[in-house]
Subunit: 421 residues, 2 copies
C-alpha cells in the first residue's frame, strides 16, 4: 500500500492507510498503548490494543523506524483530529541502544554541547527541525526576492590564492603543494560579476578562522551575498536590501507559519555619529560596540516601532579598503550595517569603482597591488558605481527565533573547538 504522510489523513475516515516514520514516543498503559509516530508531516497518534502489536511496540524503542498500516479514526482529542487504530506494525530499522538524549518532550533538556555532539539525533527534535526549516525558507525567500529584482545567481571559488581582505583569520590549505586560502567572502568575485550581469547574488559558505569562542561566531557560515551596479549611492543598495528582507520574511511566514516582524517600507536609518550619540558613546569612538548596537536598536523600536535599523556612514578607517567614501565628508563612508533586535546581521555599502581609486586605497593601507592583481583587473576594464551586502544567515535566523547561540540554528556547526560531527 502506498505510504501517506501524517498530514494526509483528513477525508479518509474508516479507511486503512499506511504511514511510516520514527517512534517518537510510546505510552504503555495497562489496557491500551499509544504510539506517537513522527514523520515529515508531524506527529500522529496510533492506538495499540491487540496483544501481538503491543508486544512488538514494547520491543521497539524510541527512534526506531516503523511502517504502520491502520484505520483512520476521528478523535477530536488527537493532534490532527484523527488517530490510527487497529495497527499492523512493521519495524524497518530497530534501535538497540539507549538514546543519548530525549526527543519526545516539547523542550529538549540536553545541553547544547550534548545536542551538538549528537547532532544527527538532536536535529530530529521538532523545535530544532522548525529552526532549520526557517533557515531553508529564508534562503529560498532571499533568492526569490533577488531574482524578482533581476539579480543573477553566481557560484564563486572558495579556494583563493591570496589571504586578502583582512589577512587575519584565514584558513590555510595545501593546494597541490602550494599554499591556498579558504575564501572569507565572495566579495571580490561578486564585484567582478557586476561587470557581467550588473546584479548578482550568491548563497554559499564562507570561512573565518575566528579564534574567539562566542555565541555569535562560527568558523563556517552561510553568507547571503549580493552586489548591484549603476547605483547613485549606498541608499539604492539599502532600498534593494529592504525589499529583499521583506520578501524573505514573507516567504518564511508563508512556508513555515513562523510569525516574522513587519519590515517597514523604509527602515529607519541613522548616521554613525548620531548612533554614537543615541548610545551615549564618546563622539570619537571608531565603531559601535555590541552594547551600542543594542542601544540603537532599543531607540529604533521606541521611536519607530521597528525591529530593524540601519546605521550609515561608518568611519572610513574601520571599513575595508574597497569602501566608497561619503563624497560630502570623506572621513565617513557610504557603508552601512543593518541591526536587528540588538545585533548586526548585515554589512553593506557602496564600493569604489575606479581603478585609480583602488590603487590609491591600497597604497593608503600599505597593501601591495600585486596581491590583488586578478581583482583589480575588473576595475581596469570598466566598472559602474556599485554596492552590495552580505547577510549572515545564521545570525538572522537566531535573531528571528530568539536563539541565544548561533550554533542552535546550524545543523553541524564549525568553531574553534568543533570539527565534528
Amino acid at each position: 500500500m502506498q505510504r501517506i504522510l501524517s498530514t494526509e489523513l483528513a477525508g479518509r475516515p474508516g479507511t486503512r492507510v499506511t504511514v511510516a516514520g520514527w517512534v517518537h514516543r510510546r505510552r504503555l498503559l495497562k489496557s491500551v498503548a499509544f504510539l506517537i509516530l513522527r514523520d515529515a508531516g508531524g506527529l500522529i497518534q496510533i492506538v495499540v490494543t491487540e496483544p501481538g502489536a503491543r508486544k512488538l511496540l514494547e520491543e521497539t524503542p524510541e527512534e526506531s523506524v516503523v511502517r504502520v498500516t491502520a484505520t483512520v479514526t476521528p478523535n477530536p482529542q488527537a493532534p490532527q483530529g484523527y488517530e490510527l487504530t487497529a495497527p499492523e506494525l512493521d519495524v524497518l530499522s530497530a534501535v538497540d541502544v539507549p538514546l543519548p538524549l530525549e526527543l519526545h518532550r516539547p523542550e529538549m533538556s540536553a545541553s547544547l554541547p550534548t545536542q551538538l555532539d549528537h547532532a544527527s539525533l538532536a536535529l530530529r527534535h521538532p523545535a530544532r527541525q522548525a529552526t532549520l526549516r526557517i533557515a531553508a525558507a529564508a534562503a529560498a525567500g532571499y533568492r526569490q526576492a533577488l531574482e524578482a529584482q533581476r539579480f543573477v545567481e553566481i557560484h564563486t571559488p572558495k579556494i583563493v590564492e591570496s589571504a586578502t581582505e583582512s589577512g587575519a583569520n584565514v584558513f590555510t590549505l595545501d593546494y597541490f603543494g602550494r599554499p591556498g586560502y579558504l575564501a572569507q567572502s565572495p566579495q571580490f568575485y561578486k564585484q567582478a560579476m557586476v561587470g557581467v550581469f550588473e546584479r548578482v547574488f550568491e548563497v554559499g559558505p564562507v570561512f573565518r578562522a575566528e579564534p574567539s569562542d562566542t555565541a555569535r561566531h562560527l568558523a563556517q557560515y552561510t553568507s547571503l551575498d549580493a552586489e548591484m551596479g549603476f547605483i547613485a549611492g549606498h541608499r539604492d543598495v539599502m532600498a534593494a536590501l529592504t525589499r529583499t528582507l521583506s520578501g524573505m520574511f514573507a516567504t518564511i511566514t508563508e512556508r513555515t507559519g513562523f510569525a516574522t516582524p513587519e519590515v517597514p517600507a523604509e527602515i529607519p536609518a541613522v548616521h554613525f555619529t548620531e548612533a554614537l550619540r543615541i548610545a551615549g558613546a564618546p563622539a570619537d569612538e571608531p565603531d559601535l560596540a555590541p552594547a551600542h548596537e543594542r542601544a540603537v536598536c532599543a531607540w529604533a523600536l521606541r521611536e519607530y516601532g521597528s525591529d530593524l535599523v540601519y546605521v550609515t556612514g561608518y568611519p572610513m578607517r574601520k571599513r575595508p579598503f574597497y569602501t566608497h567614501p561619503d563624497p560630502a565628508d570623506p572621513a565617513y563612508s557610504n557603508g552601512f550595517d543593518l541591526l536587528f533586535r540588538g545585533l548586526e546581521i548585515v554589512t553593506g555599502g557602496q564600493r569604489l569603482h575606479r581603478h585609480a581609486d583602488y590603487l590609491a586605497a591600497l597604497r593608503e593601507v600599505g597593501e601591495p597591488p600585486a596581491a590583488y592583481r586578478g581583482y583589480l583587473e575588473a576595475f581596469r576594464y570598466g566598472m559602474p558605481p556599485h554596492g552590495g551586502w552580505a547577510i549572515g544567515l545564521e545570525r538572522l535566523v537566531a535573531r528571528l527565533t530568539g536563539a541565544t547561540n548561533v550554533r542552535e540554528v546550524v545543523a553541524f556547526p564549525r568553531d574553534l573547538h568543533r570539527m565534528a560531527p
Copy 2:
C-alpha cells in the same frame, strides 16, 4: 532621469530616455558613428552625429562605462527595432589601457587560457554570459523541482575531521592547529538529514584535489545533491531524479530561451552487464570507461531517441562502501549513473540504512569505524531505507551547451594549475 534597460525601449518612440552600460563596440564611419551599448538586457545601437558627442565617443574605448540620454527612434534594422539618436554621453568609468581580448565579435577569438586569465573581462562576452545564465537557471530549476517534491534545503560543513569516503584527492587544511579536510561531498550529512526531514537537498561547492588535468575535472565544482527516505529501492530515486531533471530543463528554457532536450517520462535504463554488452566491452570489466559511456549513449539515442540513459547495477566492488547491494544479486549494487550525451553527469543509488550493515561494510573495506563515528550515529538511532544522487552542475551545463571543456561554463575555475583569478 531614471535609467531604463535596453529591453525597455518599446512603446517609447520619440521620447528621451537614459540608458547605461558598457561600450561594446564603436563604428566610426565618416559621416556618422555608432555606439553599441551593452547592458543587462543586451545590446542597443546609438547613432552619434553631433561633433561633440562623436569626439567624446572617439576618446572612450570599448568596455568603458557610459550613461547615455537619447531619443528612442524606430529602425527596423536595429537589434530590437529601435535605436537611440541625438545622444548626450556621460562617461562613468573610462578604460585607458588596451583590452587583452576582444568582446565584440559573435565568437571570442581568445584562447581558453587567455579567457580564464582575464575572466572578469571574458565573462562579459554575451556567449559566456549566456552559459552562466543557463547554470543559474539550472540551479533554480533544481531547487524548485525538489521543493515541489517536499525536499528541504540544507547547508552542511565543508570542513571535515576525517579524510573519509575515498581518502585520496582530499585537500588538507590547518584547522586551528589541527589537520582538517575539505569535504568531497555532503554525502554523510545529507544521509543524516534524511533522519530529520526525510528528503533533503543541497546546492554547494565540493572539493576534489584531482591531480589529473582533463577537460571534465575541476578542483571545486557545484554539486546538486539530494537524498530521500522511505524508498522501496533505487528506482524510486531514479524516478525523483527524472522528475527533477525535467523541471530543471523546463526552467532553463523558460528563463533563458535555451532549447533543452526532451526528458522522457521514463528515461531508458540498462543494467551494467547489459551496458558492457552494448559497448562491446569484456563481461568482466568492473566499470564503464568513457568510450563505453559514449557507446551506451549512442545506443539509447538510436533505440529510444533519448539523450539520457540510466545505467543501473554497477558492481559493488567499484561503488563506495555505503552502497546498498542488489538484494537479488549482492555482487551488483542498487547504484546507478545517469549518462547524458556521452558523459556521466549524475551518480546515485540506494544506500545502506542499518547500523550493522555499515559496520560490516567498513570491515569489508578495511576502514576503522572510529573514523566514521559521527556518521554512523545517524544509523544507530534509526534510519529508513533511503537513497539519493549528486549532479555535477558544470558537467550538466557543458553537455547542454556543447562546451568541450568544463572550464568554459564556470566563472572562475579551480584546477591543478589554477587558483586565480
